[in-house]
């Protein structure tokens, strides 16, 4: 909403600098996005189009001679609405204008357009920064003085409001004036809306009925006969232009003007085109159609409220008019409509037709019915003023409700204190509310009954009034206190804690956290082989792109894609992890959201350095972080070899804690890497199912183990075992001996001197007792015992 200060001043004195006014409005909830200083158009003048000829080489362009009073110039113009005789905004070479192609302010240079030199430009509203309108050029009123600088003719200060959906009232200049009045302590002058009613009674000339009062609470109309359609006077055109509207013709301009002044959308019909001079407000009948003002033929359904004459629809109520009743150059009698349409139906109709108009923008928010006759009278007065004619006596007012009873809401100082935490006396409350146009009546000690003015549709409950009071007196006046109520006993959810621990452990393991979009492409899910055709992942009804179509059932796809993207500009090392949710469909219910942790590791193991080797990351680099996570959580887990089509055969393990499946780790299958165009191989991937991890961690609490006061004896044990025996099994046997405190596997070897079906495992074994110092003999006996057990259980022998 654009509010020119010159217009605003008609209703309220503004003594503050524009920036200060904008600040106060913004703080009170009417945000001023920008204070536009309209002007600064150097080298721009009011010009007149003398002649218009077609461009010899381009159909869409025309060649115009433009006078600026002192000189005449030849320009090329592409606007469809340019015509000889028009007063226009003319920019000479050197003017700085908005260029819609580059999106920047640029100085106008001499240009040759299709062989013809253009010595300037006839400007659109967009080029001048007046509005977004770039459909055609700005046409100035005929009395605009040719040669006057545009700054002196059009210059103004305009507040560009960015309104929240509740502040419908500030979609009108009067609404803003009330706000300014309250914020600056100035009285508001509402327009005088009286006029002479010297025509015959309207009731004898038109018949109006509302068949569906649930969709149209109030319908008011007036009739002006003998009008002369033509351009609006300068003041009207100027105000509309500054507010971002293109003037069209006097009657239509008035309806737009009054909408901007009062908020109420109005519609004008050509009275003589209404069959039987009858208006019926009713639901459309199935099969009816209407060509609307935008030239589109619309099929109507009974959900749509139409304005009809005796036979056919002539407009869609509160949305758009029909071409069959449109005001034209020859119109002599105008039937003016000002109605209150149902906000829900209006919104649905507009959405169904994909047609959001300035009217629906207001109706869908629910205008007060008290407003309709006020705006009707204002517009009737102005039409007669700018287009002449005679106003019929009286208005039609079909109001299905009880009398127009304004909204009333009670407010107590007790409630104010309870919500704000401060005392505000009743006098202050009344003063603030009255300055906003509310009417207050004391209804008890510390209580007022407040009548809401017709322009405010957003005040319905006591809390709304509390906000009115505090936003005007300012939030700075509210004290600042700390919560003094007891701290509730709620606990942070266990999953939140586990997620934190897992992230910290993976970071400690040297991994970088990434966060990717939970919406993925079907193609990527097929690439990782995890698109379940039987139970497909949840799809978006309105995906923004094919790349963001499905709710991910796995973190693997985005991790591999992230890896591939980073391979483009780095050689690693890549150690990436993500902790996030995957989504499993759950019939018609909300999906199961499972927190997962997953990581990928690939590329060189170290950043290149003179101190390290050039080895690459592999399976064991992915296993290490898992061991760290489990150690941090106090979970004992085992790794069981498994073949899984996602992973390289023989290089994958499932992770269990007891019977609980915790996750998987392995090197990704080379064919999957190819599908993601990954260069570095191998890529190791780990995945942990966090609900299972949480389950396994339940009941685990760390217990201190006392330190032995006696020294440990160390023995190295080099074993040869059959190649198929897992190292973990050997280690398990050794560490379960009662005198063994700790075992370290420090060498794994196969090759020379070892039979090809065997491997060598070498351990440091630490023997220690909590009761005494072990003798050499005891330790040797224990070692011999261990060797016998190992030979029996896994066929181990001592390496020669």
């Amino acid at each position: 909403m654009k509010v020119p200060l010159s217009w605003l001043r008609e209703y309220v004195n503004v003594d503050l600098p524009a920036a200060e006014l904008a600040h106060r409005l913004t703080m009170a909830g009417v945000e001023v996005g920008e204070v536009i200083e309209m002007g600064g158009w150097k080298e721009c003048f009011v010009g007149q189009v003398l002649t218009k000829e077609p461009h010899p080489q381009a159909d869409r362009l025309s060649l115009c001679r433009v006078s600026t009073g002192s000189e005449e110039m030849e320009v090329v113009c592409g606007a469809p609405n340019v015509a000889a005789g028009q007063k226009i905004c003319f920019a000479k070479v050197g003017a700085v204008l908005y260029n819609s192609h580059s999106g920047k302010q640029e100085a106008l240079k001499p240009a040759k357009i299709r062989g013809v030199v253009s010595q300037g430009m006839i400007c659109s509203a967009l080029e001048l920064g007046l509005s977004e309108d770039h459909e055609g050029i700005v046409v100035l009123p005929d009395d605009a003085p040719t040669g006057m600088s545009l700054d002196s003719y059009l210059g103004d200060t305009v507040l560009d409001l960015e309104l929240t959906p509740n502040r419908l009232d500030c979609l009108s200049v009067l609404g803003v004036a009330h706000e300014v009045g309250a914020l600056t302590g100035q009285p508001v002058r509402e327009p005088d809306i009286s006029y002479p009613e010297d025509g015959p009674a309207i009731s004898s000339q038109v018949s109006i009925s509302v068949a569906d009062p649930d969709l149209c609470r109030r319908y008011t109309a007036s009739l002006i006969t003998g009008v002369k359609i033509g351009p609006s006077p300068r003041w009207l055109q100027e105000r509309l232009t500054k507010a971002g509207y293109r003037p069209i013709s006097n009657v239509v301009d008035v309806t737009n003007y009054v909408m901007l002044e009062y908020d109420q959308p109005l519609h004008s019909f050509d009275y003589d085109r209404l069959k039987d001079h009858t208006v019926i407000v009713r639901r459309a009948q199935a099969g009816e159609t209407l060509v609307t003002l935008d030239g589109v033929e619309r099929k109507l359904t009974p959900d749509v409220l139409v304005i009809a004459d005796a036979h056919d629809p002539i407009g869609i109520g509160g949305v758009i008019g029909g071409a069959n009743s449109e005001i034209g150059p020859d119109t002599v009698s105008v039937l003016l409509e000002s109605a209150t349409f149902n906000e829900h139906n209006n919104r649905e109709t507009a959405q169904g037709m994909n047609l959001r108009t300035e009217a629906t923008l207001r109706f869908e928010k629910g205008l007060r019915p008290e407003l309709a006759p006020i705006a009707l009278r204002r517009a009737t007065q102005l039409i007669q003023q700018v287009a002449g004619g005679q106003i019929a006596e009286g208005i039609i007012d079909v109001f299905s409700g009880e009398a127009a009873s304004p909204q009333t809401v009670g407010l107590s100082t007790e409630r104010l204190k309870k919500l704000l935490g401060m005392d505000i006396d009743l006098e202050t409350v009344e003063r603030v509310l009255q300055s906003l146009g509310f009417h207050c009546q004391r209804s008890g000690p510390g209580q007022v009954e407040v009548t809401v003015p017709y322009w405010r549709n957003d005040i319905n409950i006591e809390e709304d009034l509390v906000e009115e009071v505090v936003r005007i007196i300012g939030y700075d006046s509210v004290p600042t206190t700390m919560l003094s109520t007891p701290i509730p006993s709620q606990q942070t959810t266990p999953m939140t804690s586990i997620v934190g621990t897992v992230k910290d452990a993976l970071v400690a393991a040297g991994m970088q956290e990434v966060i990717s979009y939970p919406l993925v492409s079907g193609a990527d899910l097929h690439r990782v082989g995890l698109f379940d055709e039987a139970e497909p992942p949840l799809r978006m009804a309105n995906p923004m792109s094919a790349g963001q179509e499905y709710l991910r059932p796995t973190l693997r796809a985005s991790l591999l894609a992230t890896l591939a993207a980073n391979e483009g500009h780095s050689e690693g090392p890549f150690r990436l992890f993500e902790v996030g949710r995957v989504f499993n469909p759950n019939g018609g219910e909300l999906p199961e959201e499972r927190d997962m942790a997953a990581g990928v590791l690939s590329g060189r193991r170290w950043d290149p350095s003179w101190l390290v080797d050039d080895s690459t990351l592999d399976f064991y680099d992915a296993k290490g972080p898992i061991e760290l996570v489990m150690d941090d959580l106090g979970i004992t887990c085992v790794f069981e070899p498994v073949d899984d089509p996602f992973f390289h055969p023989g290089r994958c393990a499932r992770i269990f804690a007891g019977k609980e499946y915790l996750g998987i780790v392995g090197e990704v299958h080379p064919s999957i890497l190819d599908r993601f165009d990954l260069k570095a191989q191998p890529v190791a991937l780990l995945e942990l199912d966090l609900p299972a991890v949480l389950q396994s961690q339940k009941g685990i609490s760390r217990q201190f183990k006392s330190l032995s006061r006696y020294p440990a004896a160390t023995r190295d044990m080099a074993l040869v075992v059959p190649a198929g025996v897992p190292a973990a099994q050997v280690q398990e046997i050794v560490s379960s001996h009662r005198l063994v405190e700790r075992v370290e596997l420090f060498d794994v070897y196969s090759g020379e001197n070892i039979a090809s079906d065997s491997k060598s495992l070498t351990f440091h074994v630490f023997f220690q007792s909590h009761q005494r110092t072990l003798t050499a003999e005891e330790v040797n006996r224990a070692l011999q015992g261990l060797l016998r057990t190992l030979e029996q259980q896994v066929g181990a022998t001592l390496r020669a």
Partner: protein, 356 residues
């Protein structure tokens, strides 16, 4: 061998000390020094033997010569110590010039991991509220229309729904509506928490949110929010101010000022947004890019929980009051770290992530 007398003893001890000292002066390495020690002070060293030979003297002579001998021993040990120190110092000096390290070479590389900047800032935000007695809870990212909108006083057809462009899950009900969506804010957890708990309530809800929106430098369709909610008997707007002021000081420094202005969210009344004075220009404005000259930076929306929201979850709005707030961690990270494009957060470019 003549019988030593105290006089001759004194003379020979002095000779021995002189000889030893003279020899020591020429010694420059630890091996020779050890040989010298053995030659004079060892078990069969000259001074040791001399002292042993005193046993044959009479008592008085032995006393005098013994004292001289022990003095000589002390002197030689002193000399040995001095020499030993000077030799090791000389050796260090030598090795420093011969085996000098190039201290400018890079150190042994470590494997370092990092949390995503969003995680870091979310933790910082949550800790500030945890310190004020809030606990952390999380909710579903796929929500129902019911919780995302209706329970928040945004019924079907409400014009305020336009404030949230929604991504809908492709499952329709009998009426042809989409009942499931990706939550557009973390606010649905307000209703979920209150439905499952009796007052008092004091929680923060971090989590992902989604909007059907074209992305640009300041808009992402996928982003995080931290929602806060406190409900009890006697909670006021003044408490909201105090809580958020304390939060702003913890995140942006003790000297920060805050400012509230009226704003609209259908689930609070009164509704506000909070700004802090700009930490980049200390609220001066003038040419500051962070606050775009205003001196103030908007950081979150807040307000008193709307009575319809309280009534909707079965809380008595006459008895209980509360406040709610919501903020975007990316925006705060952008302000703190000077990041100019929000799209960097979730494109997972390591050149970006490794900077935090």
């Amino acid at each position: 061998m003549t019988q030593p007398t105290s006089q001759s003893s004194a003379q020979s001890v002095q000779e021995l000390v002189d000889a030893a000292a003279g020899e020591l002066a020429g010694i420059n390495d630890t091996d020779s020094l050890e040989a010298w020690r053995v030659a004079y002070l060892g078990r069969r060293g000259r001074l040791t033997l001399f002292l042993r030979g005193l046993a044959q003297l009479d008592l008085e002579e032995r006393r005098v010569a013994g004292a001289l001998g022990n003095q000589a021993k002390g002197r030689l040990e002193e000399l040995l110590d001095e020499r030993s120190k000077s030799i090791s110092e000389a050796q260090l000096t030598r090795s420093a010039s011969e085996d000098r390290l190039d201290v400018t070479l890079p150190g042994r590389p470590l494997v370092t991991g990092r949390l995503h900047p969003t995680t870091q800032i979310m933790r910082e935000i949550c800790s500030a509220f945890i310190a004020m007695g809030f606990s952390v809870v999380e909710g579903p990212e796929v929500e129902t229309d019911h919780y995302n909108f209706e329970m928040l006083n945004i019924p079907l057809g409400h014009p305020a729904r336009d404030m949230w462009n929604t991504l809908w899950v492709d499952q329709q009900d009998e009426a042809g509506n989409y009942p499931m969506l990706l939550r557009t804010h973390t606010s649905p957890m307000q209703a979920r928490v209150m439905e499952s708990t009796q007052p008092p309530v004091r929680v923060v809800v971090p989590g992902k949110c989604y909007r059907y929106e074209a992305t640009d430098a300041t808009h992402e369709w996928h982003f995080y929010q931290v929602e806060g909610l406190a409900v009890d008997v006697g909670i006021t707007f003044a408490d909201l101010k105090g809580t958020l002021f304390e939060f702003a000081r913890r995140l942006f420094g003790n000297e920060r000022k805050v400012r509230f202005r009226c704003d609209y969210f259908p689930f609070v009344e009164p509704g506000v947004d909070m700004s802090i004075d700009c930490f980049a220009c200390n609220g001066e404005g003038g040419g500051c890019r962070i606050c775009r000259d205003s001196g103030w930076i908007e950081i979150m929306g807040a307000g008193m929980v709307h009575p319809r929201v309280l009534a909707g979850v079965g809380y008595d709005p006459e008895k209980y009051t509360g406040f709610a707030f919501g903020l975007g961690p990316e925006r705060i990270a952008m302000l703190k770290y000077g990041i100019e494009d929000i799209r960097l957060f979730y494109s997972n470019d390591l050149r970006f992530l490794s900077q935090f």
